[in-house]
Amino acid sequence: MNEGRLAVPGDAAQLPVLAHFLQQFWSTAGLPAAALNSFELALEEIFINVVMHAAHAAHAAHSVHATHAVHGGSVPRVEVALALTADGVTMALEDDGPAFDPLSLPAPDVAASLDERPVGGLGVFLVRQLMDSVSYTRVGARNRLSLTKRIGTRAAGE
């Protein structure tokens, strides 16, 4: 299996389903276990970002509690596509939620002290650090985030 695709509702409760899908793809493709963590983390961070952003947008639009608004038909559909490349793996997340480029978020100050450190903002930063390339495009009414990372497999020469 060189490609895999799964679509789920943009609900945080779907996270284990996505993680399982990624793990299955990984073992079927015979990829090294040590390289899985970066993709698990990227998948979680980007997916949760989509979920939270959609909830906030719904909250702003309906001015009711976000948790209620999100059940009012504004849950985006999120599709994850995985593919083997010549020397690694590409993962793409597409959703039909409100336009949102997570790469536009400011980087956290990772040198800040314990007391000064803000509690959020690390997710996208970590994804950028762990992946070789991350890009965002708005395709029609969909957000598309594409991530790639080279993986040293026994087949790949380098």
Partner: protein, 125 residues
């Protein structure tokens, strides 16, 4: 996430096991805060006041930013309560995100449980 608690003199050793992802983070934070609350108040219980809280992550194979957030919140609460907080036995993949986030500079990390306990001033005997 599973959390087993051991007491070594004035040190509480919290042994965590599982996947610290978005779904597990809130519950895990509450568990740790409970330990910290027990640590902070010596109010009349049989339990001695706790001077240190060690979080053993040897059984934690995954931590996302939601999990890192818990470490940060607990480290801050511990500092406020005057409890020495440290983490030990990070698996390589977890250590990587810990280092990338700059957490190694703001939270004490020990290679293994023995050195964490030794640092806290107690033997595990």
């Amino acid at each position: 996430m599973k959390l087993n608690i051991e007491t070594h003199g004035g040190t509480t050793l919290a042994i965590a096991e599982g996947r610290l992802d978005f779904g597990a983070a809130n519950g895990f934070q509450k568990q740790l805060e409970q330990e910290l609350a027990g640590a902070g108040s010596s109010a009349g219980g049989a339990r001695a006041p706790v001077a240190a809280l060690i979080l053993d992550c040897g059984g934690v194979d995954y931590v996302s930013s939601a999990g890192l957030r818990v470490f940060l919140v607990v480290a801050r609460a511990a500092k406020r309560d005057g409890v020495a907080f440290s983490i030990c036995a990070l698996q390589p993949a977890v250590r990587e995100v810990f280092d990338l986030s700059g957490f190694s500079r703001i939270i004490t990390v020990h290679a293994d449980r023995a050195s964490a306990l030794a640092q806290a001033g107690h033997s595990s005997a």
